[in-house]
Subunit: 251 residues, 2 copies
């Protein structure tokens, strides 16, 4: 496949946007750590680590992209084609998710500061389910045929559905015990989670729907990138806001 | 030997997973240092350094791998063969272990916060034994014949057995003096140590057992990598948990 200069430049700049967003959200959170009560620092620390991990992977994704697509046109004003001997490694996303998706759930549970028992019961179910969801998606994404892709996508949807069930049915009970001022923000956070996490399985389906070619691929990369900014950076900033609000109301 | 694209991509992504895991566990520990009592900071600092050292070595291992195996296929969609003039350096692992294995034992002893005398008596025996174990394994790993490999493997097993003896017989007495809440977590840590450290001598034996070919080599690299994540990152997180629990119960 080949990319026009506009397509190439767009992806190039979007990837760089993700690096800047993740890296500096991470730095912001580390600097802001002393501004919340100690009991909320676990959530912010994990959020900082998540954004740091994402920054690392987008550095890698960016380099993988610029090494895999080249042009011979002077000043780069031409089509970009795939080079011999290098590939764009889609796998970085799965390595990233394998680490960050369980941690995003940990952030959510940590910022609620529930009783220790409730916390560990939630995490014992959410974290393995998240790891399983990503691990099952990987062979599907790497497969070259749509059947394998479909089967692993379906398998991966089972833990996905389970995670949503735990977050939207079980967690609702714990919400009642949160201070009234933050209850709305927590609902907002959960909504953001649903809206952004839903993007990933939809993007995964695109190649199977016969939507292909370079436009679809460009759309996919931009979709994943924007979803990653919302699901990690914006999510972290809302977590920070909840931690600040709870720090005030606990005081 | 040559690798298929799936084998190459799998190792590539696993190595990157190890880099991300080690690097960000290290950063997490440094950020979290103020969250435990000063007497437990030695253990966390050492854990952070261990994961940092491992991140460095996996950067090297990753680069060594991508330089040693190349393909000429467009988009990287083909077999990867060993290039002329570059080798995959298995030695990085031994350099890493020579530094990190003694430090992992130091972490364990430090988090127990035993009497100063007991600590130094344990370390005076564990650290030289660990260094000797790795130093004796290196010539065996580098040797091309199975006899040399076997002899040095056997020699290296002597300090290995001694370390296990000290950890499981002598340390058990000190465990009785730990707060009840953390005793279970410490036992868990020791079990993790036994389960993960046991992977290394088994992997070492594989070539001697006639199991060869690229599948075995891929399995070996994945096995070492996963063991390194468990023996350093998960181990460090359990150390962190012990330090947090003890900080609460001492307070
Ligand atoms: C259900 C499903 C998937 C779900 C992926 C999700 C939910 C990813 C979330 C990623 C996040 C939140 C990243 C970090 O910001 C896969 C693996 C695409 C495979 C197809 C089925
Ligand atoms: C007994 C034995 C070995 C033991 C190696 C061990 C126990 C390594 C542990 C490494 C760790 C814990 C790494 C860091 O995470 C060797 C050297 C393979 C040589 C064969 C005999």
């Amino acid at each position: 496949d080949s990319l026009t200069q506009i397509q190439y430049d767009t992806i190039y700049n979007v990837f760089s946007l993700v690096i800047a967003s993740q890296l500096f959200t991470s730095i912001f959170l580390v600097i802001s750590l002393p501004r919340v009560l100690p009991r909320y620092r676990q959530a912010l620390t994990v959020a900082a680590v998540v954004c740091g991990i994402a920054a690392y992977h987008y550095f890698r994704i960016f380099n993988s992209f610029t090494e895999a697509f080249v042009t011979e046109a002077v000043g780069g004003r031409g089509d970009y084609v795939q080079v011999a001997g290098a590939s764009f490694n889609e796998g970085y996303r799965y390595v990233d998710w394998l680490l960050t998706v369980p941690l995003l759930l940990l952030e959510l549970v940590a910022v609620l500061a529930l009783a220790r028992k409730v916390q560990s019961s939630l995490l014992k179910r959410l974290i393995p389910a998240a790891a399983l969801m990503i691990a099952l998606g990987y062979p599907g994404e790497m497969a070259s045929d749509n059947l394998t892709r479909g089967i692993f996508g379906l398998l991966s949807s089972v833990p996905f559905a389970y995670i949503l069930y735990v977050l939207f049915v079980e967690l609702t009970r714990s919400l009642a015990r949160q201070p009234a001022t933050v209850r709305k923000t927590i609902s907002l956070l959960r909504l953001l989670l649903l809206a952004t996490w839903g993007v990933y399985p939809i993007a995964y389906l695109l190649p199977g729907l016969g939507i292909d070619g370079s436009d679809a691929w460009v759309g996919l990369q931009i979709g994943y990138s924007v979803a990653d900014i919302l699901a990690k950076c914006l999510y972290a900033l809302i977590i920070f806001r909840i931690a600040r609000m709870k720090s005030f109301s606990d005081d």
